[in-house]
Amino acid sequence: MPMTRRIWSTLVLAAGPMAAWAFTVAIAPASPQEVYLQVGVGGFVGNYNVGGTPGANATINKASVSVAASAVGNGTAQAMTTDSSIGASPYDGYIYCSTPAQMYIGGFYRKTTAGSNTATVTATVPASLVNASGDQIPFSRISWTTGGNGDNGGEPFPAGTFVGGGVQTVGSMAQNQWAESCWTFRYANTTLPPQGTYTGRVLYTLSAP
């Protein structure tokens, strides 16, 4: 009997440590969800692909055109230019858009869930552009084409025309995707509005599930 007890003691000592040894590393997502949208000038510090980080930028960029008196309403679309100096993609610094003809729009959407979620970019558009006298030009007179340097395939922010007085979808970002396009705006120039400077502001919003 004493021998039997001694054998079982040996068993415990020999078998105990075999399954116990391990070292542990705790991992946790630093940022489970991230979204970023840039229209024109943005707030990126450094390029994303080398550790750059997104930030806020309050700049409101402008797309504009001055139509010569002799050309007003002649039906020839007038190319607009932007005051945005940003042609380089904040992803890698690649000269993607040609300024001042084009305006950069892009960003990304990150989320730690399985699936194919999509973030949507909408434009909130006033009914009209207005001058100091209260005269109006419908926003629907402005449209845009899309495409940047080196592009092929479809664009995440496709060509379109403003729909005045509403909210319209102007593009989307798939989950865990960087999406970017370059927009070239134009004024249809099909009417004869009174002389003046007409302005209006469009608000772009990124919504992510």
């Binding site: 039997t4 054998i7 068993l11 391990a22 542990t24 590393v25 699936g115």
Partner: protein, 161 residues
């Protein structure tokens, strides 16, 4: 009746002795044994996992990566003056597909392992009671599975000759 009882006790003793011999002799051929790594220290044991860079224009990247330093100290005294192979093991565990890679200061081999697997980090004679090295450990996981924090368990195993 008493004799049969005594016989049963002896059989139990024999069986116990056989198991004890296996457990107490980690140098038996092809025997895999977990190594006492209680002296191992993970510097910054809480690792923030960050998104790996995206590729622009439609290509997705769903990996999250993080890194830490591990001061390894393995008690290999039971195999002293014998030969063996040491493996770093990453058992299958949450959050799913995990990949780890590491560099070393030379005592152990650099390498990589995916969850559910093990990778050789040393092969040869065991001439010192403790194997010591520093690993720079990089971990990557599918970010879509990182719904919360997870404790990843690693261990070292010895295949003794």
């Amino acid at each position: 009746m008493r004799a049969r009882f005594g016989s049963a006790l002896r059989c139990l003793a024999c069986a116990g002795l056989a198991v004890a011999l296996v457990g107490a002799c980690p140098v038996a051929a092809a025997l895999t044994t977990a190594i006492d790594d209680s002296g191992t220290v993970v510097l910054s044991p809480s690792v923030p996992m960050r998104w790996q860079t995206l590729s622009p224009r439609r290509t997705t990247s769903e990996l999250m990566t993080g890194s830490t330093t591990v001061q390894v100290r393995l008690n290999v005294m039971p195999w002293l003056r014998r030969s063996g192979r040491i493996y770093l093991v990453l058992p299958a565990q949450q959050p799913g597909a995990i990949h780890a890679s590491w560099s070393t200061q030379g005592r152990l081999l650099p390498g990589a392992v995916s969850s559910g697997g093990r990778t050789l980090v040393y092969a040869g004679p065991i001439s010192v009671p403790f194997v010591v090295d520093v690993l720079q450990l990089a971990i990557s996981v599918d970010g879509r599975q990182m719904h919360q924090g997870y404790d990843l368990n690693f261990r070292f195993e010895m295949d003794a000759n």
